[in-house]
Amino acid sequence: MSNNWEMVIGLEVHAQLKTSSKLFSSSPNKFGSEPNENVNFIDSGMPGMLPVMNFGCIEMAIKTGYALNFKINKHSVFERKNYFYPDLPQGYQISQFEFPILSEGYINIESGDNQKKIRIERAHLEQDAGKSIHDIDPKYSFIDLNRVGTPLLEIVSYPDLSSADEVINYMSSLRQLLMYIDVCDGNMQEGSLRADVNLSVRKKGQELGTRCEIKNLNSFKFIKQAIEYEFQRQINIIDDGGEIKQNTMLFDTSTGETRAMRSKEFSHDYRYFPDPDLLPVNLTQEQIDKIKPLVGELPQDKLNKYLDNYSLDKDIAKIIIAEKQNANLFEKMISESTVKPKFIAAWLVGDIFAFIKENNLEVNSLNDKTKDITDLLRLISDDVISNKAGKEILPKVLNGEGKPSELVKELGLEQVSDSEELEKIIDEALVGEEENILKFQGGSDRVLGYFVGKCLKATKGKGNPKLINKILLERLKK
C-alpha cells in the first residue's frame, strides 16, 4: 500500500538565459535556426580558441539571485567538467562547481491551502551542450552545435518537495519568476526550461531512502508522469524485498515509464578543475547593487497590490499575474483610463483572454489597442451600451475594425436611457398584467425579472436595464 509511503524530491532546473549571444562566445543565442548556423570557432572547439565571458549572463544570474532570495556571491569560479561526447566539442563543459554565483535561496509555493517554503541550495552558470540526432539516418548520427555554449542557469533545490503537485507548483513558480525578471523565455517545449528530478521514497517519519535521478524532463505533464511512475517503481522494489540502487533514469515519453541508463552513460569522473582560460568572477557590491532596480515587481508584489489597491478577487488577480505580459497589459489599461480596475480585470480575464485564446494571439499583441479597449469599457460602465452590446463590439475593437464609439453608432447599439421613452414602454408593457402585478406585490420577486425581460424585448434590447428596473419598481409599488 502506497499510503504509508512518502516521496522526497529535489529538483535541478536548467534555465536557458535570454542573452543575445552565448555564455563564452559571440554566436547568436537563438532557437530554431538551421543546424550549425549559430556556431563559431569557439563553439566548435577549434584549436587555440578561447572563451570570453558574456557579462550579460552574470547580470541575469544576479537578477535571479534577487528574485529567488539567494545570497549573491561576489566570488565565483568557472570550472571544466571533463567528458567525451560528440555534441561537446571542447571535451569539457564550462560550469561552476565549488564556487557557484548564487547560494542558499528559497521560494514560497502553494501546497494545498498553505504556503510552503522550498529551499534552494545553489544556482550556477554553465554552458549547454549541442544536440546529437540519431533518427535521421540509419547509419549516421548527426550533430547540431547551435545549442553549444548557450548560457544555462542550473537551479538546485533542497529535497523539500513531497508530491508531484508540489513539484509542478515549484516549477511553475520558478518559471513565472524567471519570466518576470526577463532572464528566461520559459518555453519548455523548446527546452528553455528543463528539470532533472531526484526522487527517493521512505515510510512516513523514517530516514531518507536512496535516490534516483530522472533526467531532462521538459513538460509539466512528463514531470508528473515520471514522478508518479518512479514513486511506484521504487515502492514496488522495496515491497518485493529489494533495494533501491542509486541510478540515473530516463523517462520514456511514449510509454510513460522510467528506465535506468546504462551505467556507461553516466559513470563519469568529471575531473573538475578551475578553467585556466578564464579568470574567477569577482564582483563588487556596487556591481551587484546596480542590478537590483532591474528586477522589477515580482508576482507576489503584484498580487498584493491587486488585492489591496484594486480590490480584485484573488482568483482573478492570480490569472492576471500568472504571466508578466498579462499584468503589463492590465496595468497599462489602468494607467490609461479611469474605468475601475476591478471592471477592467473582469473583462480582461473573461472576454479578452477568450478572444486571445480563440485567435491564437500573443497577449502582447493587444498592447497598442489598450486605449480602444478601455474606451469600450468606459461606454459599458457608464451604461451607454449594455453589457451584451459590449460583448458584441469587443471582437471588432480587438480586430481593429473601428473606434468603440463609432462602432456603437454604426451598429445602433446605444442604450435607450431616456426616462420618458422608457416610462411609455413600461406603461404599455404593464397593460393587462394585473394578475402578475398582484403577485409581485404579494412578494414574488420572480415576476420582476419577467417584466424586465418584457420591457427589454420591447426596446429590442437597447433599453438600459438598470433604468428599466428602477422605473418598473416605482410603477409596481404604486
Binding site: 570557432f41 566548435s44 572547439g45 577549434m46 584549436p47 587555440g48 580558441m49 578561447l50 572563451p51 570570453v52 565571458m53 571544466r80 571533463n82 567525451f84 560528440p86 566539442p89 571542447q90 571535451g91 569539457y92 550533430i143 569522473d269 575531473r271 573538475y272 578543475f273 578553467d275 585556466p276 582560460d277 578564464l278 579568470l279
Partner: protein, 480 residues
C-alpha cells in the same frame, strides 16, 4: 655575426637588397636545410603579394616596423590557410581558417613567414624529439665529437635551430616551462618569455593555459625587442591577456639603465652544477660588475618543489586542453566499431608517447580521490613559489640563473622522462610564477657548445629586462 633586424631594414631601405631577394635567400636555406627545423616551408606564390606589398612600402619610403623580415613560426600558432599541426599526427591534416592573434600582429607589421617550425608534439618535450615529423638537429656540433647529432632543446627546437642555422631572421616560439629559453640557450641565440598575460594566447594550440606564453627567438636582444613591440598587445579575446599600458621596448634598448641595479643569484640553483655552468654565471657577473651592477646571493625556499608542481599542473591542464582532439570535427580520424572506439583509436594512434603520458598523468591528478592530494596541493605550492619570487624581487631588481643545467645533448641520449624533465629546472619556476625571463648566450662549454644565462625580471618589466640583457649581450658576445 648574423644580421640583425635593424641591419636588414637598413639594407632594404638603402636598396642594397630587395624584399624578394631577402625572402628567397632565407626561404632557400629553409628548404635545403638538413636540420628538420621546419614542418612546412611556405610556397613563394603564397607570399608573393606580401613580398610585393612590402617592397612597395620600402619604395614609397614608409616601411612598417618589421617590413619584409622573414620569420619562422612555431607550428603551434594557427596560421590561416597554412597547415598547423602542433607536430602531432592527430593534427597532421589541419588547416586553420583563422590567424592567431600574435602572428596577425606580425603580419600587420609587415613581416613575411618562411614556414612553420618543427617543435615537440603539442609543445611537450625539452629536446624536440617528440615531434611526429622527427627530431630537429641542433646546428651546433660538439667539437670533440663532430659526428653526433645534438638536440636543439625544446619544445621550440625548430624555431631555435632555424634562427641559429640562418633560415629565418627570427622566429616565434611558445614557452610553457622553458620551451623558448632552453632551446635558445642550447642553440646559442636569444629567447624571451614575456610575462604571462603579455601576448595573447588566442589561436595558439593550447598546452597548459595558465603557463603558455608566446615569445621570440632571435639573434640578438634588440631583435627580441622588435618582435615584442609587435606582439605584446592586449587582446579582448584572451581573458588572461593583461590590459596594462605597453611600452616601446626598442627605443631605449641600448641606453644604460637609469637606476643602480641589484641582481640576485640564487645560491640553491648552483649546487651540484658543472664548471661549464658555473663559468657562465661568473662571466656574466664579472662583465656586469664593470658597469656598477651589484650582485647579491639570494635563496629560494621552494625550488625543490617547482618541477613536481609543474608536472602536476601542466599535464592536468593539458589532459583537458587536448580533449578536443577526438577525430570527430577535424584532424585525423581512425575508424572504429562504436563511438568510443573512434575516440580510442583516433587518440591512441594520433598522439605520441609523451603526449599520452602527460594526458594520463593529468587525468590521474584531477580524478576523484586524488585531486586534493595532487592538483589542489600543487596549486597551493604554486602560490608559495610566486610568493617566493615576490619576496626576492622585493630585495633585488633582477635574478640571474643558468638557463639550463647542461649543454646540448645527443639525440636519443635522455631516454627516461625524469632526466628530460630536469632540463627545465631553471626555467620552470619562472613559468609557474608567471614572470618574464630572457636567455642570452653567455659563452661556450668545454665541448665548444653554446650555453646561456637567464635574467628574470618583475611582472611586465620587459623593458628594463631587455635593457639589462642588451648590456650583458655586448659584454658576453662570443664567436662561433
Amino acid at each position: 655575426m648574423k644580421n640583425s633586424i635593424s641591419q636588414i631594414k637598413k639594407s632594404l631601405i638603402e636598396k642594397k637588397i630587395s624584399v624578394g631577394e631577402l625572402y628567397d635567400e632565407y626561404s632557400a636555406k629553409a628548404k635545403s636545410g638538413n636540420n628538420n627545423s621546419f614542418n612546412l616551408v611556405i610556397d613563394r606564390e603564397n607570399n608573393i603579394s606580401s613580398i610585393n606589398d612590402s617592397q612597395n612600402r620600402y619604395d614609397n619610403g614608409n616601411p612598417l616596423p618589421l617590413d619584409g623580415i622573414p620569420l619562422g613560426i612555431k607550428d603551434l600558432f594557427c596560421t590561416k590557410g597554412i597547415r598547423t599541426t602542433a607536430s602531432s599526427k592527430i593534427l597532421s591534416n589541419f588547416i586553420p581558417n583563422y590567424e592567431s592573434f600574435v602572428t596577425q600582429q606580425l603580419l600587420n607589421d609587415g613581416s613575411i613567414f618562411i614556414g612553420k617550425n618543427n617543435c615537440d608534439e603539442f609543445a611537450m618535450g625539452s629536446s624536440n624529439e617528440t615531434s611526429y615529423f622527427g627530431p630537429v638537429i641542433n646546428p651546433w656540433k660538439n667539437k670533440n665529437s663532430q659526428k653526433d647529432n645534438l638536440v636543439p632543446g625544446g619544445s621550440s627546437g625548430g624555431s631555435a635551430a632555424a634562427v641559429a642555422e640562418g633560415s629565418c631572421v627570427a622566429s616565434m616560439g611558445t614557452d610553457t616551462g622553458g620551451s623558448i629559453r632552453q632551446p635558445a640557450s642550447l642553440c646559442g641565440i636569444v629567447g624571451l618569455k614575456p610575462t604571462f598575460g603579455s601576448c595573447s594566447r588566442w589561436g595558439i594550440v593550447a598546452f597548459a593555459s595558465s603557463l603558455d606564453q608566446a615569445g621570440p627567438l632571435t639573434n640578438c636582444v634588440e631583435d627580441a625587442a622588435y618582435i615584442l613591440n609587435s606582439i605584446n598587445k592586449h587582446d579582448f579575446n584572451d581573458s588572461t591577456s593583461s590590459n596594462h599600458q605597453r611600452e616601446d621596448y626598442l627605443i631605449d634598448i641600448n641606453n644604460s639603465l637609469e637606476k643602480k641595479i641589484k641582481i640576485g643569484i640564487p645560491s640553491d640553483y648552483l649546487e651540484d652544477v658543472s664548471d661549464d655552468i658555473l663559468n657562465q654565471i661568473d662571466n656574466t657577473k664579472k662583465a656586469l660588475s664593470k658597469h656598477g651592477i651589484e650582485f647579491v646571493d639570494v635563496e629560494f625556499k621552494t625550488t625543490e618543489y617547482a618541477l613536481s608542481t609543474y608536472y602536476i599542473l601542466a599535464p592536468a591542464e593539458a589532459s583537458s586542453n587536448l580533449a578536443r582532439y577526438d577525430g570527430v570535427r577535424y584532424g585525423v580520424r581512425e575508424d572504429g566499431e562504436s563511438l568510443d572506439d573512434i575516440y580510442l583509436n583516433s587518440r591512441t594512434k594520433g598522439f605520441g608517447d609523451e603526449v599520452t603520458r602527460r594526458i594520463l598523468i593529468g587525468a590521474y591528478v584531477l580524478s576523484a580521490g586524488y585531486y586534493d592530494a595532487y592538483y589542489r596541493q600543487a596549486q597551493k605550492v604554486r602560490r608559495l613559489i610566486k610568493n617566493d619570487f615576490q619576496r626576492i624581487l622585493n630585495e633585488v631588481d633582477f635574478i640571474l640563473t643558468p638557463t639550463t643545467p647542461n649543454e646540448a645533448f645527443k639525440i636519443g641520449d635522455k631516454l627516461d622522462p625524469i632526466s628530460m624533465y630536469k632540463n627545465d629546472i631553471y626555467t620552470v619556476p619562472t613559468s609557474l610564477a608567471g614572470l618574464p625571463g630572457i636567455s642570452i648566450p653567455s659563452g661556450l662549454s668545454k665541448n665548444g657548445l653554446p650555453l646561456g644565462v637567464q635574467f628574470i625580471g618583475n611582472y611586465f618589466e620587459e623593458k628594463t629586462l631587455l635593457q639589462l640583457a642588451a648590456l650583458a649581450e655586448k659584454e658576453l658576445s662570443f664567436n662561433e
